[in-house]
Amino acid sequence: MKTTEAEQSNTLFDALMDAAVDAIIVIDDHGLIRRFNRAAQRMFGYSLEEVRGRNIKMLMPQPHRQKHDGYLARYRKTREASIIGVGRETNGLKRDGTPFPIHLSVGEITGNQVGNYYVGIIRDLTDQKLAEDQVHQLEDQLLHADRLVILGELTAGIAHEINQPLTAIAAYADAGKNLVARGTDLNLQDFQLIYERIAAQSRRAGEVVQRMRKLVRTGTLSKTRHDLNQLIRNILLLFEYEVNKSNVKLEFFSNDALAPMYLDEIQIQQIIVNLVKNSLDALHESGRPDGMIEIRVDRLDKEVAVSVLDNGIGVPENLNKRLFEPFFTTKPKGVGLGLSICKSIAAAHGGSLSFSSPPRGGSCFVLKLPLEYIG
C-alpha cells in the first residue's frame, strides 16, 4: 500500500511528539485536550486515553484550575495574552494529586477550520527547585554561621573591654574597704581619690558601649554616588527567597525621579537589611497570613525618606523609647545592636532613623537622609 505524503508527515509528527523530552499538550479553544505526548503521560501520570477530550484544568492545581476557563474566554474575547507567547513558572498537578513546579510555554496554532489550538510545552522543574532549595538552605546556614562568628568575636571583645574597668573598680573598692577595716592612717582626701577612681572606671565601662557605636561612625564611611532605588532593589533581591517562603507580600515603591546620592553603600544597605529583617521577624512572630512589608522612597522638603512599614506584631508603647538602645532586644536570640548601629549610621550620614506605630498596628521605621547628599 502506498502511503500518501500527508500520512507520512503525520507519522513523522507523532514520532516527533513522542521523542520530545518536554511534555507537549495540545488543547482546543475550549480547553479540551487533543494531544498528550509520552513525556506528558510520564510527567503527569495519565495515559492518553484518560485525558483525551477532557479539560486541561484537570492538570492544574488551584487557583488556576478554577480560573482557566475564564483565562481562555477572556483571551478569545480580548486577545490579551497573559501567557501565550511567553513562558512562566507555575505548578502542575499529577494524577496522584501532588502539585509540582513546572516551566510552561504556550503557543497558539491558528488557521484551523474548527477553531484555534494551543500548544503547551512543559518542563518539570522538581529537581531544579530541589537543588535551589538546597543552595538556599546552605546559604542560610552560612549566613547564620557568619553571624555567629561575628557575634562571638564581638562579645569576646566587649567582654574584655568591660572586664578591665570592672576589675579596677572591684580592686579599688576592696582596697578602700580594707584600708578602713585596718584603721590605716589615711585622710579623707585619699578616700576621695579612691571614690573618684571608682567613678571614672564605671564611666569607662559605659564608654565601651558608646565607643562601639562610634566604631561604626568613624570606621569606614566612604561615600560614593548611588541610586538609592537601585540600592534598595538589590537588597530586596537578597530577601526574595525568604519573602516567598514566608508568604509575605513585599512591595517597593521607588522614587524614580530621585537623582543619585552620595552615601556609604554598605552601611546604608546594612540599615535596609536590618529593617527588612526586623519586619520579617515581626511578621513571623505575628503568624498572620496576610503579612505585608511596604518600602517606599519619598522626597520630602529637605530630606529623602525611606520608610519600611509592616503589619507584624509591632512594638509595645512602653518599649518604644528603648528600641535604639544598645543591647536592648526583644528577640530571644538577639544581641540588641542592630538598630543602635543603624541609628549611628544614619547619624553619620547627617540623617536620622525613627520609629512610629502605625494606627492599624505593626511597625514603621523611617530613615531620613539630607538632600545635600544628592548630586
Binding site: 567582654a159 580592686a171 580594707n178
Partner: protein, 206 residues
Amino acid sequence: MKMSEYDVCIIDDDEAIRESLRLLLFADGLKSCCFESADDFLEKGQGTTFSCMLLDIRMPGKDGLELFQLLNRESLLYPVIFITGHGDIPLAVSAIKQGAFDFLTKPFEEGELLKKIHAALDSFESNRKRALEDRELRSRIELCTPRELDVMRLLVQGLSNKGIADTLNISPRTVEIHRAHVMEKMDAESLPALVRMVTQLETDEV
C-alpha cells in the same frame, strides 16, 4: 629581714588595673612597683628588686608569656603570677607548665588574690634563703685547698679516715689534719651536717 625593695612587681598595660592593684596590695601592707609593658620592664626594671611578679598575659608588644620566657631562661628566683581574662585559661595553663607560680582571673577575688600573693612571697622567701645558703656554701668551698676537697669528697661518700688515707695514698694522720680544716672552713659541726651541705649544693646545681 627583707632583701627586696618591693614585695610585688606589677606589669600590666592598663593603668587602672596597675593602680588599683597597687592600692589593694598597699592596703595589705605590701609595696609594689609598676611597669606598663614588657619592654618598659626590660628597660627600667632590671635593677629593681622585688619578691614576686604579677604579669598580665595579654599586652600590646611583647605579651606576658613572651616576657616570662625571656626571664625564665635566667632561672628566676621570684615567682610569677599571671593575670588573665576569662578567655585566656589555655594560655594560663601553658604558663603554669612552663613554670609560672600561679594565675589570677580578672576581675580578682580579693581573698584569692592576697592568698596567692602571700604564697608567692613565702615561696620567694624560702627560695631566697636557699639561694643565699648555696652562695655561702660555695664561698666556703672555695676556701678549701685541692687536697682538702679530695678528702671532703671521700668523707661524704662515707669512707673512714683509714679508707681515705689508703685511697689518697697519704697517712691517716695527714687525713685527720685535712679533715679538721674542712670541718672548720665549711663551718660544719658534724659529719652529717657536712653531708647535708654538699647534698644541697649538688641538688641545686643540677
